[in-house]
Amino acid sequence: MSVHYLGVRHHGPGSARAVAQALNALEPDCVLIEGPPEASELISACLREGLTPPVSLLAYSPKHSGVSSFWPYCEFSPEWVAMRYAAERALSCAFIDLPVTHQLALAIEARERLKRDEGSLLQASAERVELAGAEGQQHPRVTWAYELRRDPLGYLATLAQEGALEPEDEGGERWWEELIEGRGELSGEEALAFFDSVAEVMQVMRDELDEVQRHTGPLQGPPFAGAAREQLREASMRRQIKKHSKGHQRIAVVCGAWHVPALKAKVKASEDGALLKGLPKDKVTCLWVPWSEARLAHDKGYAAGLKTPAWYRYLWRYPARDALTERWLIDAVRLLRAEGFNASSAHVIEASRLASALASLRERPAPDLDDLRDALTSTLSLKDSHPLELIQAKLVSGTLMGAVPSEELNHPIVRDFERENKRLRLKLSDQPSATTFDLRKALHQDKSAYLYRLTLLNIPWGTPKVRGGSGLKGTALEEWTLAWEPEWVMRLIDAGSYGDSVELAASELVTQRATRGHGRHEEPLKAHERGAAGGLSLSALTALLWRCLRAQLSAPLPALLKSLGDEASLTHALDELLDAVPELIWMVRYQQSAATGLALSLLPKVTSQLLPRIFAALPEASVQLSEELTLALCARLSSLHRALMTSGDQRYLQAHKPAWRACLERVMSRAQSEPRVRGLIARTLFEQGWWSAALVYAEARVSLSAREEPSRCVEWLEGFLTGGGLLLIYHDPLRALIDRWVCGLSEQDFITLLPLLRRSFTSFSYEENRQLGEVLMRGPHLSCTGPSTSEQAHELLIAGRQLSPSRATALTHATPWLGGRALSLAEGVEITSLAVQEER
């Protein structure tokens, strides 16, 4: 029986090639790989059609949400090569790392501990600072030990080249790449010799570390943080190698090069046994999930990051360096050509010659990525960064997405997800793409609903483009941006605990959120997020209802509406009610054509319960408000009024209209109501035909009477003029009244109020202002106020220009009314002072 250790660099194409050659030469009858043992039976799936790397093994705890581990592989991962070798020959093959059941349990424990010890974290960080301080005066060997543990290859590289490397972070990587990953085919013997020397050099480095730690005691700090876990893992690997060695002749072990010395070490089985005894356990499920090159490059979620996956793919696919250079440059030029750059085959030839010249100048055996990039930049004369970014994204980092057949994704909800994707013709890609759905088409409607369902499950695959306003109105077109993150498979599986399909899970989650405020596996609400009934607040419930309707989920509606009703009756916040009701009314309208319409027979009922509450509270709420709150209230009143009135075809609302009118009149009957609100309501009542012109005129006369404070008059006026000046153009008495009021102001008051007045008048459209100006010039009341003839108006303009260039002109242009008054006030001097006043 013999055991051969193949120490590799994870995701190293050179290591992968060496593994392939070594396995061919060894012809082992058993292959053991560093990986999650629970997933051993998934190894044979690597041959399946449709399972294309990059893929990842996922192990998760079905009981504890959010606890999971990934083991990603690409086509050039040595582990992947070993798996395929064993599977093709039906050899005995297994993963031998520390069982995930322990790893996850340990992670959960650590998480719990972290939660418990949040207080002592401060202390821990203080200790760490102290430690860092102590590091300052260390023996150089100790400093090196840190360096060595942090980046063994970088350390080696420094030794090999006497620190002659460029001061770049990837110094070690570059050296290793040149020496190992970038070289072509090895013979079987060469490969075996290579693994022997790797083992040897790792042995030397680990000996050095042990030696240092014998003097200093166990070293602390970031590079050594995982030391305890590493011990467990290596003990477990030793134990499993021993277990598998029974009944096999030649065993090949593929593991990270760093572990080889530890696995070779003679350690008593009883010692390992003692170390591994009594570890916590957690239930574990393993499966294959798709992965992507972009994710590999991001270095998220697992340790062995990879900066240039696509470049490594080229290294793997084209072992002959000439072919690699050609192929990479051709692909780059084709890519740029597709983007509209002038790039020809001649450029490829020139770039490849330049790259070779560069490589020999830089004393490298063959052009590496830097040479190719430099050559391309120079021959194509690329000056801006866009083409280089493009090349970086596609040919260095890579955009390849892996795939896993749905039978392998052994979870009902994932299978449902795959089915739905196929049905709806949606493709997973982590490159953002924009698309438009036409909701009049059934398929598009389904797509939109599906994406909303996923969003409810915290999988924001699609992001709808938010148009201005509430997004409730508008066209039947929806614009979406789709971008998939491979790790969302995990969230999907999380969601699987709510139901076996996307629809069921989303329904259940919404129901739970509606009744308890949060899903079973979600964080409970914070105190300030809670509504009056203890669950979600009214606005949160309305938003949830809206998303639920968009997702075409009918099952959670009864629960949702019940909570909505409960919350509405308990809440004291009129603002929330005022915000919610228009939304609800729009929803009823929106849903009249949609599938969930039936369940929505309940919605009018809820709305009908809410409206009387508003009507009751409003008069009391319109007094004694700050300007800010008044403005907000006005906006809410307008939107509620619009919702009530434009939904005239809905029978349930008819009954509320008289109550609405009564409510508004009650606000008017209270003298203390804010003038702006009164103005707005007066206007509303008049436009609606509920008040006669005479009534409005009376109200205006009272509100603009001389005894009122001018500033309050202006507020009333502003409220009254919300929504345009058309009324003033066609309603002579009103215009005359306001005209008279403007003329009657004392000079001092006029100057003080001018900015406010201007604000309300300039909210009119240009056309309205023009017409208003004309009417005023013609009108009987104009003699006292403004320019009576067009010549006079023209003179005014000229005078304005002369006196205070742009400002007076703008004044007269924008509001002929005020301009007229300004002219009647004075011959020039005043206009200047007005301008000054305005500037202030």
């Binding site: 450029h347 330049l354 100048l361 050559a375 930049t377 021959t379 004369s381 000056k383």
Partner: protein
């Protein structure tokens, strides 16, 4: 400084009498040292191996202890690409804003590769084809008709005949139709002489280095046919203050010798101040990135900073105490920054009051600058 006996105006000048010697003369010792120990293969027609050329430009100590001064302060990558380009038979185009060292690099590359940096064509807006190809000795032409003797060779033609590097300065200033004369030379490596029904084919070792300025308005963009014959290397402005200070110091001390100003180098602090002012005005942003500034019309490159420091030296040596004072710096600075009185003066005033006034330790310079202003 060594005194020389005055020589007659017509006698050939010695190197010391020149205002400025060619690179291959000034650095002859370094080139010799490199040649002596260069064991690497040299492309045909090259005086040095590509590796040694890069070393000559970037500086360093050779195995035999000879010291090579750095000629280019910047990324070695760029010089490597430039040299590698000349190894292949593509021509080299150096691009950058004025003062980034394009001509400087081009001169030294030519000096190191073929030992001759004088085969130079200066591009101008009014130049014709004969400046690139060949002209005629009209007396000869009229007397004997077209013949090889009547031909006046351009520097380019001489470079082709002898297998050397030709240099074209300010390529984009040359009218487009004249530029295109280069296409045949660069693609066929031959120059047809239709009048004599013959052609001149280039000897191995011939190549071309062109420089172009991408700041000037009214440049003549290269046709894509011509562009394809060039590899482009963009020379950037120095990446950090320290790098720029180093460049300025190095060049000022070496120029100081040539211009017979006293050999007392200006204080680092002064150089740093000038470089800081230039960098800030160039970027339109203070170094701390907090204050936005208006940019003056002049390109305030490292080369400008060098000439400002030289001017300071000259001012202090001939009119001052010999020690560079804030006044010297201020007057030199003003001359560099204010090119257009109406446009630049307000910008300079604003810079003084917004940035310089509040800066600690800059009080003397601020005062001096204020006094210089009318």
């Amino acid at each position: 400084m060594t005194e020389h006996p005055p020589s007659s105006p017509d006698a050939p000048l010695s190197t010391d009498e020149l205002i400025r010697a060619h690179a291959e003369v000034q650095f002859a010792a370094e080139l010799e040292a490199l040649q002596a120990q260069d064991r690497r293969t040299r492309p045909e027609g090259w005086a040095l191996s590509p590796w040694a050329v890069v070393r000559y430009l970037m500086g360093g100590t050779l195995d035999n202890g000879a010291l090579i001064s750095p000629k280019y302060f910047g990324a070695q990558r760029l010089i490597e690409v430039a040299v590698a380009t000349l190894v292949t038979d593509r021509a080299l185009l150096l691009v950058g804003v004025p003062g980034t060292g394009k001509s400087w690099v081009s001169e030294h590359l030519a000096a190191a590769i073929c030992g001759d940096s004088t085969l130079l064509i200066q591009g101008t807006a009014g130049m014709g084809e004969e400046a690139i190809r060949y002209g005629w000795n009209y007396a000869e032409l009229l007397a004997k008709g077209p013949s090889a003797q009547a031909l006046v060779e351009s520097p380019l033609m001489r470079a082709m005949r002898r297998g050397k590097i030709a240099r074209v300065e300010e390529l984009t200033r040359i009218p487009s139709d004249v530029q295109d004369t280069l296409i045949t030379v660069l693609s066929e490596k031959a120059l047809p002489i239709a009048e004599l029904n013959m052609e001149l084919q280039a000897r191995r070792g011939f190549n071309l280095i062109a420089t172009a300025n991408d700041r000037d308005r009214g440049v003549n963009e290269l046709s894509s046919a011509l562009k394809r014959r060039f590899n482009t290397v963009v020379l950037p402005t120095p990446s950090s203050v320290d790098e720029e200070v180093m460049i300025v110091r190095e060049r000022v001390s070496s120029l100081g010798l040539a211009l017979s100003t006293p050999e007392r180098p200006p204080a680092d602090e002064d150089i740093r101040r000038v470089v800081t002012i230039f960098r800030e005005l160039r970027r339109g942003l203070t170094l701390d990135g907090l204050t936005k500034l208006k940019q003056p019309s002049a390109v305030l490159s490292a080369a400008e900073a060098i000439s400002v420091m030289n001017q300071c030296l000259a001012l202090s040596a001939h009119f001052g105490s010999g020690e560079v004072s804030a006044r010297d710096v201020a007057s030199a600075l003003m001359g560099a920054v204010i090119r257009d009185q109406a446009l630049d003066e307000p910008i300079w005033r604003e810079y003084l009051d917004v940035v310089m006034k509040g800066r600690e330790g800059w009080g003397d310079l601020y005062e001096a600058c204020r006094q210089e202003l009318p």
